[in-house]
Every structure is written in C-alpha cells, then in structure tokens.
C-alpha cells in the first residue's frame, strides 16, 4: 500500500504545477486586470507549496516504512517488501490501515530534517531488504524501489513508449528538495518581480535603434507560468521511470530554461544567452540520443526498474539486465568479452537461435558516455560549461531555481540514477570531467566581479564536485552534495537577488561594499550560505551542510587515489579547489557587505528587501546550515544511501590493468584524513580572502597589476569563448560564406535559367490559349446566340396564337401516334 500512496502523492505534486501553468498562461484572458494582479503568482505558490506538502508526506512515509534509522533492524524493509508485493498487485483492494500519518503543517519538515542528529550514534549505514532467493527470505543490502507504468503513450511494434514512475529514496529526497526550494523561490520572486506589475515597464537595459529605452507591458503572470511549467518538467524528470521519459522532460526543462533566460527578450544579451544555452544543450543531447539508440537496440527497453504484477516480473528493466559478479564487474562472455544480458534471476537470456544475448563492451561504454554527454550539457560541465554564466541574463529567481538548484542538478541526478549501467571507463571520464570543471570554474570565479557571475562559476565548480564524487564511486557523496548544494546555492542566489533588488539592479561588486548595515538579514543569511559552501566547520562542535557533503566527496577521492595511485590529481585538485572555493566565496561576501562603501550613490539608495523576499532567505538559510546535520550518520545521508546501487558496498576489483573502485568501508576509513585536509584548505582560503578583501593590509589593485597576465587570462574565462569562436563559429561562418557564394553562383543561375525557360513556354502557351481554346469557346457562344436570335420571332406574345399552337401540336401528336401505332 505504501507504494500506491507514494505514487499518488508524488503524482499530485508533479501535476499540480502543470495545472498552475495552464491557469497562469491564460491569466491575461481570465483576469480583468492581469498586469496589476498578483493572483497568478499566488496560484503558482499554492501549486508548488501543495506539491511540497505532498512530497514531504511521502518522504516521511518512506522514512517511517523503511526504518532506515534503526540500526541493524531489518523489520521495516521486510514488512515494506511485503507491501510492495501487495502494491504491485493491480486488483488489490485499498487497505486503509496502512496509510501514513499526514503531516500537513510546515513544522514537519524541521522535525524530519533534524530528527537524524539525535540518532547519529549509528556507526554505519545499514539498510537491509528482504529478497526472495531460492530457499526463503535472505537479508542483504539492496534497493527498495516502487516502479510501474502510469500511462502508455504509444506502441510501435515492440517499442513501447510509456510514462513510468520509479520511486526510491533518491526520487523522494529530490522531490522534497525541489518543491521546497521552488516554493521559497516563488515567494521571493513575488517581491523581486513586482516591478513587472505595470502596464508600461521600462527596460533600462534594452535600447531601441534611436537609443531610447524599450517600453513594454509588464509580464508578471507570464513569468510565473514559466516557473510553474519548469517545476512540472523538473518533477517529471525526477519521477520518470524510463530513460526516454527522462529525455522528454529533459527537453521540457531545457525549453523552460530557454524561455526564462530570454525573459527580458528585448535585450540582445538575454536572447543571445538563451540561444547559447539551448544550443549548448543540444550538443549534449545528441550524445544522449545516441545512448538511447544503443540501449534500445541491445536491451529493447527504456525502463529502469522491473515492473511486477502478482509478484511476477512482467517487464524487465535495464538495471536488472546487466549482472555484476562478486568482484563488482559485469558478467562477460569468456570468449568475446561481450557483456551478457541477464534475466531478473541472474541467468543469461538467450536469443531465438539459442545463442546468448549480449552487448559488446565498447557499446556499453558508448551508452555511458552518451548519457553522460547529456549530463555534461545540462550540468554545464567542461567542455560545454560556457552557457551557464551567460544564463545569468535571466531574472535572479530564475538563476536561483533553474541554474543553480534544480535544472543543472538534473545532469548529476541522471548520472546518479543511471549509475548501475556505468562501466569503469565511463566513471573515470566522469571523474576527470568533474575534476577539470571544478578547477576551471573555481579559478574564473576568483576574478569575476559580477555578483551573479561569481555564483554561476561557483555553481559549475560545485557541479564538477558532484560529478567527481560520482565518478570516483562516491555515489552517495555526489548526490549528498547535490542536495546540500541546492539549498545553499539557491540561498546565495536569492541573497544576491536581494542585493541586486536593493541596489537598483547594480550587479558589479566593485560598486558595492559596506552593505552589512543596510541589509542585515541578507548579509547574515548570505554569510551562512558562504560558510556552508566553503566547508568551514569546528569539527565536533558545529558544521554546516557543505562541510559534510564536500568532505564525503574528498574522502571518496582520497580512497580512489589510494586504490589507483596514477590518478592522484583526482584528489589533489579538489582539495586545492576547496581552498579556492572558500577564497572566492568570502571574497564575494567581503566585497559586497564588508568595509567602506565604494560607490556612495549605490550605497545611499540601498535598502533591505521586503519580508516576502527575506522570509525565503531565512527558511533556506536554516536548511543550508542544518540539512546535513550528522554528516554520514545523519538523516539525509541515511535516506539517500538507503537505496544506493548494490555493488557500491564492496567496491569493484580491477580486471587486467583497469582501475579499482573503492568499497564503502575504504571511503569511511579515509573520512577523518580527508576531512582534516579539506578543512585546512578551506580555512586558508578564508584567511587569504580576509587578508585581501577584509582588511586594507594588502593593496588588491597593486596585486592585480602584478599578476596582470594571469588575471587577464582568468577574466577572459580561460579564453573558452574565443576558442570556441575560433574552432566552431569562424569555420562555420567560412562554410556559410562558401555556401552563400555557391548558392549565388550555381543554384541561382540554374534557377534563373529555369525561370527564363518558363517565361518562353508561357508565351507560347498564351498564344495557344488565346487562339485555340478561346476560339472554340467563343464559337459555341456565338452559335448559341444566333440560334436564340432566330428562334425569338416565334415568341409573338399573342395568347390566342399560343393556344392555336397548342391545339395544332396536340393534333399533330395524335396524327403521329395514330400513324405510328395504327389499331
């Protein structure tokens, strides 16, 4: 029963924003005064807020049912497993006694999130699930998943496109996180976007040809419609039970991003940025599509999990089709080395001719790289990272929701979701991609001066951390960081939004400074976010969320380095970058809030934002600080790891000269070491930032001059835009110019020749038409006319004459009759 209830709750949370979108997009049609009304915004808040309550209820239900936090007690999972079997029975009557206690008040989330701290005594994550195996129920580590089909979109031969759901702890945590953050951001946006509540909005950043500002109607309700559509797409992506469905919502998320980045569509920069984001994502999605094609060809299904009816598998999913041996590697054919495709019981499936079904190993690598290419595009990883900073052209709530907390997290989420199918080569690629990205972005963030750009690069860098975590087998660490990062990054973006709003759309940090007194709430909540992302902590006393999650990643990287000493960079670069992260985040904070005002004009007009903008900041700051309380013994971490892929536990032993992936225990062993090093890096980064920007000890301008070369290189974003310009744009322009010339010289000639020939033919045709066809028609007409003329004399108009004609006619008829038929 738990499964059915969960499904209903999550479906409600998923579909409510769609309803909201429909209401809001037609708001101008329904409302008498759409440009001045906040009703659309409150509709959006209501939808996503109700969705949050549903998700939270589902999460609490899950936690209750799983008993994930009772150390070593497997009862919860076992009883739940029995429930699954019931839930998967399509004709089973609803059993009301199994319902979860409803949690309908806001306070419940605090209870749920903080609950774990008191139970930190559990020294190791242990969740067990009963699986039916030969003799009877046997306890083993594993996943509990509710999956099934919601709706069949279409069946084409053996290809079945369906809307499935796949609910495990990752889904639930993502749902709660997304809806909570989205609710806060919706509220914030009501305040931030309020200057759109007008019939004539003057866009000071958009100019017409004559240099005047663009005047346009306010687009308040449209903004919220897009936000709702985005929430629907993101939740659909998380709930999706097959990779094709993920792709559908993946694209929907992309189009929402496009619409929102280009919200100020009159600004050239905004529409360019929207295009850039969309096209960059297309490149990644191309790889995604290739992966999908290979998957379909070899596995014949897109489903993640098995679909059960009556405790029997009716549709096997992808994850059970590849089987891992004791050492963590895939089962492979001994002769060819191809990976065997197995049934749910672990036995190899056979083709119709009796041979084993298998997929070449390199194609499995292609699948992994293809899917990962999609993630690279969506999560702005190297080498497709350049779109995300430009995406800051959108309104700040968009940056907070779409480009830090959720959409870009979709790439990491998919990498985590698809983790069971990744082979070692793919994981190594993921790790190195993440590693390069996190370093690259962090260095650029050090010199950026636009407050939102700093946060954008910081986002890319943190996404790199997550990818690195997943790549070095720290599955839980990567996704843990995904959740914690979502909280503190959305918090910081909202803070920057508050600053921008308060400073009348001034985004350059060199013009700020000393805002601490003017905007105390913003400054303090921002400081919480900064501490969280920097990973500062007093070990054993207090630690904010970023400390725990980044620690976990660094620990995974260290364990990975210990197992494969050749890949030492995967540990040292993140460690170094942890310091850089602390540096640039504190630089941002000191620049903005500390010291003396640099621009008196901006400072004089700065003011704290209204409560509707500061309240979300306060809510989010609580989560940014404490959502990860307890670290890897805490509630959030245990929930996440409750369903981590089974082969993580023991690690993967290298075959041949491959790479060894660390086991969970190896990572746990390294935790203290890694944590200490990361803390040292963070503290030194903070100190440097304080010395440079918090005091007047060092002249920053002088330093900038000394290091002009490096500074310029970083300010120009490692010249990536120029590089892509030279590599792709200019060749494309050259090719286009050649095409244009070819078009003019060859195709146009042919076309003109054809046109001239047509003219000649038409002239002949005209002669024929005028003489022959028209002549014939005219002939008939004139013949008709002459007959008519000659007949008209009969019509004398004399009545008696007509009667005589009748009589004569009748007589004539009789005469004819009698002569023809005599007798």
């Amino acid at each position: 029963m738990v499964g059915e209830t969960l499904q209903k709750l999550l479906m409600t949370a998923w579909l409510l924003p769609l309803l909201g979108f429909v209401v809001e997009i037609f708001f101008g049609f329904w409302s008498k005064n759409p440009r001045h009304s906040k009703a659309a915004a409150w509709t959006a808040v209501g939808c996503i807020g109700a969705g949050f309550l549903c998700s939270l209820t589902a999460l609490v239900m899950w936690g209750t049912a799983s008993n994930a936090f009772d150390d070593g007690d497997a009862e919860g999972w076992m009883s739940q497993q029995a429930d699954i079997n019931h839930a998967r029975h399509p004709h089973h009557e609803a059993d009301s006694s199994e319902g979860a206690p409803p949690h309908e008040h806001e306070g419940a989330d605090h209870d749920a999130e903080h609950h774990g701290s008191s139970e930190a005594g559990a020294d190791h994550i242990l969740t067990a699930v009963a699986t039916e195996d030969d003799g009877g129920p046997k306890l083993e580590r594993g996943q509990t998943v509710y999956s099934g089909t919601i709706y069949t979109l279409g069946v084409f031969g053996s290809l079945e496109l369906t809307l499935d759901y796949y609910i495990d702890s990752l889904t639930l945590v993502m749902f709660t996180m997304v809806t909570l953050i989205a609710t806060c951001i919706h509220l914030f946006a009501i305040g931030y976007m309020s200057d759109e509540l007008t019939d004539e909005y003057v866009d000071h950043f958009a100019h017409k040809a004559d240099g005047s500002h663009v005047h346009r109607p306010g687009r308040f309700y449209r903004f919220f419609a897009f936000l709702s559509l985005f929430c629907f797409a993101m939740l659909g992506l998380v709930l999706a039970g097959n990779i094709f469905q993920v792709f559908i919502f993946w694209e929907l998320v992309g189009i929402c991003s496009f619409l929102l980045i280009g919200f100020y569509t009159e600004r050239k920069t905004a529409s360019d940025a929207a295009n850039k984001a969309f096209i960059m994502n297309r490149i990644g999605d191309f790889g995604f599509l290739i992966g999908l094609m290979v998957l379909w060809t070899y596995f014949g299904t897109f489903r993640f999990g098995d679909t059960m009816v009556d405790n029997e598998v009716v549709d096997q999913g992808l994850f059970s089709m590849v089987h891992r041996a004791e050492d963590g590697n895939f089962d492979r054919d001994e002769l060819t080395g191809d990976v065997l495709i197995t049934g749910t019981d672990g036995h190899v499936l056979t083709n119709e001719d009796g041979s084993n079904r298998q997929i070449p190993y390199y194609l499995l690598v292609v699948v992994g790289l293809g899917i990962f290419a999609g993630c690279v595009g969506k999560s702005a990883q190297f080498p497709l990272q350049t779109w995300l900073p430009d995406a800051m052209e959108g309104p700040t709530p968009v940056s907070a929701l779409v480009h830090s907390a959720t959409m870009v997290a979709a790439g990491v989420y998919l990498a985590g979701r698809f983790f069971p199918m990744f082979v070692q080569e793919v994981l190594l690629t993921i790790a190195y991609t993440g590693c390069i990205t996190l370093f690259l972005a962090a260095t650029i963030a050090m010199v950026a001066t636009d407050i939102k750009k700093v946060l954008a690069y910081s986002t890319i860098s943190q996404l790199g951390y997550m990818m690195l975590g997943i790549g070095v087998f720290g599955w839980a660490a990567g996704l843990f960081h995904l959740i914690t990062h979502a909280f503190f990054k959305s918090l910081m973006f909202l803070c920057s939004g508050s600053v921008i709003h308060g400073c009348h759309h001034e985004q350059e940090m060199p013009k700020m400074g000393g805002l601490l007194k003017k905007m105390p709430i913003t400054a303090i909540t921002m400081l919480i976010g900064v501490i969280a992302i920097s990973g500062l902590a007093i070990p054993g006393v207090i630690a904010f969320s970023g400390y725990h999650s980044k620690d976990a990643i660094v620990a995974s990287a260290l364990a990975f380095k210990n197992a494969n000493s050749a890949h030492f960079l995967l540990f040292f670069i993140p460690l170094l970058t942890a310091g850089i992260t602390a540096f640039y985040m504190f630089r941002l904070w000191f620049y903005t809030f500390w010291g003396a005002p640099r621009d008196q004009h901006v400072h004089d007009h700065a003011h704290e934002s209204p409560w509707i903008m500061t309240a979300p900041l306060l809510i989010l700051s609580v989560f940014a600080a404490f959502c990860a309380v307890g670290g890897d013994h805490g509630y959030l971490y245990l929930l996440l790891t409750g369903d981590e892929p089974a082969h993580l536990e023991a690690g993967v032993t290298a075959v041949g000269d491959g790479i060894t992936l660390p086991a969970i225990q190896d990572i746990v062993d390294e935790h203290t070491t890694a944590g200490t090093w990361a803390l040292v890096a963070a503290v030194s980064g903070t100190l440097i930032a304080y010395i440079l920007y918090g005091t007047n000890f060092v002249n920053v301008e002088e330093m900038k001059r000394q290091l002009a070369g490096v500074h310029g290189f970083l300010t120009n974003k490692w010249h990536f835009d120029e590089l892509y310009d030279a590599l792709f744009m200019r060749p494309a322009h050259k090719v286009a110019a050649f095409c244009a010339w070819f078009d003019g010289a060859v195709f146009d000639r042919i076309l003109h020749g054809a046109a001239k020939a047509t003219v000649v033919v038409s002239k002949w045709d005209r002669v024929f038409d005028e003489n022959v066809v028209d002549g014939f028609v005219n002939l008939i007409a004139s013949a008709t006319q002459s007959v008519g003329t000659s007949l008209k004399v009969v019509q004398t108009g004399r009545l008696r004459q007509y009667v005589m004609f009748i009589v004569l006619g009748v007589v004539a008829l009789f005469a004819v009759m009698f002569t023809t038929f005599p007798g």
């Binding site: 007949l791 019509q795 004398t796 108009g797 004399r798 009545l799 008696r800 009667v803 005589m804 009589v807």
Partner: protein, 104 residues
C-alpha cells in the same frame, strides 16, 4: 323505356365540350372569354373522368377526381381574375392581344 346511354355518348359530349372550350380560347380576345373557354375544357375532361369511373373497382375514383378538378378550377379562376384585374389597371382593357410585352 329509354335505353341507357353508352360510354361513347359521354365521350362524345366531353369531346364537344373540349373542342368548344379550345375554340373559345383560341378566338376570344376578351380575357374573361378565354377564362370561360378554360372552364369548358376542364369540364369536358370532368365528363370523361366521371364516365370512366364506372369501370373502376369502387366506381368513385372519377367523381373524386372531378371534384378536385372543380376545386382547382375555382382556385385558378380566382387567380386568373386577379391577373385580369391587374391587367385592366395597367392597360384599361382586357384584350389579351394587348399583352404582348414579352414579344421576342
């Protein structure tokens, strides 16, 4: 005792009436006269109907037909008289030969 008239006698009477009517229509220049000719023609037909009705199963069909013809004739006369009145209003005469506006 007079012997019963046979069918031919009736047909003969009908034919005479019909021919009289036609001649009347063809020769009269007065519109009212033409209408009278029409009535004669119709009644000639009626006589034939009634005469033939004797040979039908029920023996009434012809009578019913002629009743219809009489009713129609009345209606026709009403319409025709209206036309004649209008004609008179326009031409101050009822001479049908004057109505030759539609001459080809």
């Amino acid at each position: 005792m007079l012997h019963d008239p046979d069918l031919n006698s009736y047909l003969f009477i009908g034919a005479v009436l019909f021919v009289c009517g036609v001649i009347c229509m063809a020769t009269k220049r007065n519109a009212i006269g033409v209408l009278m000719g029409v009535e004669l023609v119709l009644n000639g037909a009626n006589v034939n109907f009634v005469a033939f009705s004797r040979y039908t199963t029920l023996g009434l069909d012809g009578q019913i037909f002629s009743l219809f013809v009489i009713v129609l004739a009345a209606a026709e006369a009403a319409v025709a008289l209206a036309i004649v009145l209008n004609f008179y209003n326009n031409h101050l005469t009822v001479d049908v030969d004057r109505g030759n506006k539609l001459k080809g």
